[in-house]
Symmetry: C2
Subunit: 249 residues, 2 copies
């Protein structure tokens, strides 16, 4: 299991990636499994400048899945077995003229993620995700629920963009891994909630889009939802409520 974790960022396996990105002048977001010197393990991501510098690190806050295997499932998410919840909070960094926040996979389903990043000034949220077509247990709800996986993915991200007036760039694992088909659907979402670009296939694919920060700044001036917030009414959101063992998410 240790072989899946990175101890340095970039470690020896990743040096060629960092070197090539620097040669091309490309900044990027990279998700990985992190193991610290103390042995702590996080589902993590870094933001890397076009000069190959690691500008910031994020550790995934919302861990889905379970800590114990369930023999009744053909496959399942066991993130809670292999990772600890992120302890770095939500942060924003300046890169390529934009204030950029990061999150990972299940974080994108939580409205708190986008809101916390927007309140820290994010104009763009970058994230990676890895979501199967089939959710274990979905057939216990209604036969068609698995068909909603792609719509749920877009719905949460589009709402996050619209409600906070920010861009979202979402990069999906696609294809079939160990027999599990992923939904793919990498996309770029405008602050209006519009899909600017989306992957057309479930294969390897590169999508591109123009992130016009002037557009989002104009957008926020008119649809300035943030100005209408009433934090004094949100106390319940930060109180601790019953938590379960996990969820298939």
């Amino acid at each position: 299991m240790d072989g899946y974790f990175e101890r340095d960022m970039p470690g020896p396996d990743l040096l060629p990636l960092f070197a090539e990105a620097e040669r091309l002048g490309v900044g990027f977001y990279l998700g990985y499994a992190e193991q610290t010197d103390a042995g702590d393990r996080y589902n993590a991501a870094v933001l890397v400048s076009p000069r190959g510098e690691v500008l910031g690190k994020y550790r995934k806050i919302h861990l889905p899945g379970f800590a114990e295997p369930d023999a009744a499932q053909a496959f399942q998410n066991l993130e809670r077995r292999y990772f600890q919840p992120g302890d770095l909070g939500f942060s924003v960094w300046k890169l390529l003229g934009a204030s950029i926040g990061m999150c990972i996979c299940a974080d994108r389903r939580f409205c708190e993620t986008y809101r916390a990043l927007a309140l820290r000034g994010a104009e763009l949220v970058v994230l990676g995700y890895n979501t199967p077509h089939h959710t274990p247990g979905a057939d216990q709800i209604a036969p068609h629920v698995d068909m909603l996986a792609e719509e749920h993915n877009r719905l949460a991200m589009r709402a996050g963009a619209y409600q906070n007036g920010l861009w979202v760039i979402a990069t999906a694992k696609a294809g079939v891994e160990e027999g599990i088909a992923m939904i793919g659907g990498s996309c770029i979402i405008a602050p209006s909630g519009e899909l600017v670009a989306i992957a057309a296939s479930e294969d390897d694919e590169v999508i591109t889009g123009r992130i016009d920060l002037d557009y989002s700044r104009r957008y926020r001036k008119v649809f300035n939802l943030m100005a209408l917030r009433r934090p004094e009414a949100y106390g319940d959101l930060v109180r601790h409520h019953d938590q379960h063992d996990g969820s298939t998410c």
Copy 2:
């Protein structure tokens, strides 16, 4: 102006509505302009049982618009001129076998609304709204932005339903009032984010849908996003940030 405000609920004008609903055994949600004995004014709503009892009252928390008229606009939202922010918080009441929360109009655009109600146990959120096709200032962003009004309406409510595993019943003012055309779009949304029913026209219309609470309870067991929340990471959401005069919302 005083004539638009209710001092009692139900006041004399509304007694026939309450009597007819009681005769038919229909519970309902009703939005109104409230003026208290002390002269305070709220954008308010009540939840009424099939026996005509007022079970609960909500006062709108997120007030859009401005306090001062802008002569450059053909029309504008001046809610901040005529109302105070609601001071009753978010609450949930038991009615017809369901835990029901209320909100009003712009509240539906805020993820905090659904989250606060869900954390208080809401299985169903009822709301009314009154949204024009044209948002003053939208043309300063991009020519097509007004075309997004209906999608933004559905997007925020569908995401609220999905992220909290609850039903939403949204009742819109439709048609043209004082020359202003409304988007209408009254709808019923399932905890999966699916539209169960939606008004087909921009005229007076009744829509119906079956609210299956067993479905939502099964749904929440599998997609138990609430169990994955990390309130310790949400501190920014309840801190006070810069607020402006208002927003066209």
